[in-house]
Amino acid sequence: MSETKKMIIFRVRKFDPAHDAAPAWKTFQIPFTKGMTVLDGLHTIKQTQDPGLAWRYSCRMGVCGSCAMLINCKPTLACNTQVSAVSEKEICVAALPNFNTVRDLVPDLTPLFEKHQAVKPFILREDKTEMDNPTGEYEQTPHELEAYLQFSYCIRCGACMAACPTFATDRDYPGPMPLAQAYRYSSDTRDGGFDERMKAVDRSSGVFSCHFGSECSAACPKGVDPAKAIQLMKRRLVWDYLRLLKKKKPCDLIHGERATGRRDNIPEAPEYTIPQK
């Protein structure tokens, strides 16, 4: 007994820099299977109809951030977007907006990485020797970790940048991801680089060019909520200007040659029960 296979239409915005002056839509019809993701659909098209179709992907499970693209007018990951959750009739796939398109669904993410580097996304401390050659651990409670943990889940996919209305026009604007990462590090108790990092964000076309369009948080596939980080950072900056900010020292080093000590209420570890060599 033969069954009529259910089909689904994929409209893909294709662009070949060697031949095309501008992108153009191309329509494909492929079999629909239950549980199929947009990434699966692109693979089927490449295997059966258009071997030249190009896009980025890697992990296929929503942790690498490579396959971010515009799917039915929403920037999201192709690997964790079920076709049935988007549409039963037609899936429109295009490269991420607000980045130059290199080919087909491949965006040029160089600006994303440059803006990310500009906010110094790493722990900054006065003790440069310890930073370059660490000898011990920094002290941080689980409560202090909660202040920035959410923003550390970012996979740098670029969906938030594609959704941002300011980034659509202003190429000098850092964008939601770098700004959220600037806050992630500035609110880390191990970090002492708030003032240095703020030179990159507290400027014209900086953090105050965010006007809470809030689509970055809606588009984020990992629940990072960059809009929340940006508004919290604005609060820090305004409180700093109004001299209401209680500036805290970065946390202590608790072990190693340059350790400054540990809190009195943390007990020492028990004696070893097995002889140590």
């Binding site: 820099p17 007018c73 980045f99 659509a168 809030s214 809606a218």
Partner: protein, 146 residues
């Protein structure tokens, strides 16, 4: 790296529409439009109200009972400015609260389905938009009663 790349920036279109977005995203667009509208009106308003310095004749030519600015088209324009002010003011309260870090909630460990600052601020957004609608209706009623 390919020499020929396609510039895929949305540009100003990206302020108005570029995808299927949430309600708050369109409040951003409307806030911009109403702000520009109110500013344009305000700059003219400074010159119009300066007329009071030059005596009653000067004032009444513009805003007297049969003044130039009492024509229906200007009254409708004024109503639109009032409506723009009503929206811009209450949305502005929402933005001031949110952008100073209130209403966005605390950082939490993201667990699917994700809750974002849009969820925590939605109730306040609804209340403020309702208040804006009430003020606009009250102002509109006053316009039509004149």
């Amino acid at each position: 790296m390919a020499q020929n790349v396609h510039d895929n920036h949305l540009g100003i279109k990206g302020w108005a529409f570029g995808g299927s977005w949430s309600f708050e995203r369109y409040l951003y667009t409307l806030h911009r439009l109403t702000g520009l509208g109110i500013l344009a009106y305000f700059l003219m308003h400074i010159f119009v109200t300066t007329a009071r310095v030059f005596g009653p004749d000067s004032w009444n030519t513009l805003l007297g009972e049969h003044g130039f600015l009492k024509m229906t088209v200007f009254k409708i324009g004024e109503l639109m400015v009032f409506a723009a002010f009503g929206f811009h003011a209450f949305n502005g309260i929402r933005l001031a609260l949110v952008e100073l870090g209130f209403l966005v909630g605390k950082p939490i460990e993201p667990v699917y389905p994700y809750k974002t600052c849009l969820n925590t601020s939605r109730a306040a957004t609804a209340v403020l938009m309702l208040l804006a609608a009430v003020v606009i209706v009250m102002g509109g009623w006053d316009f039509f009663m004149d």
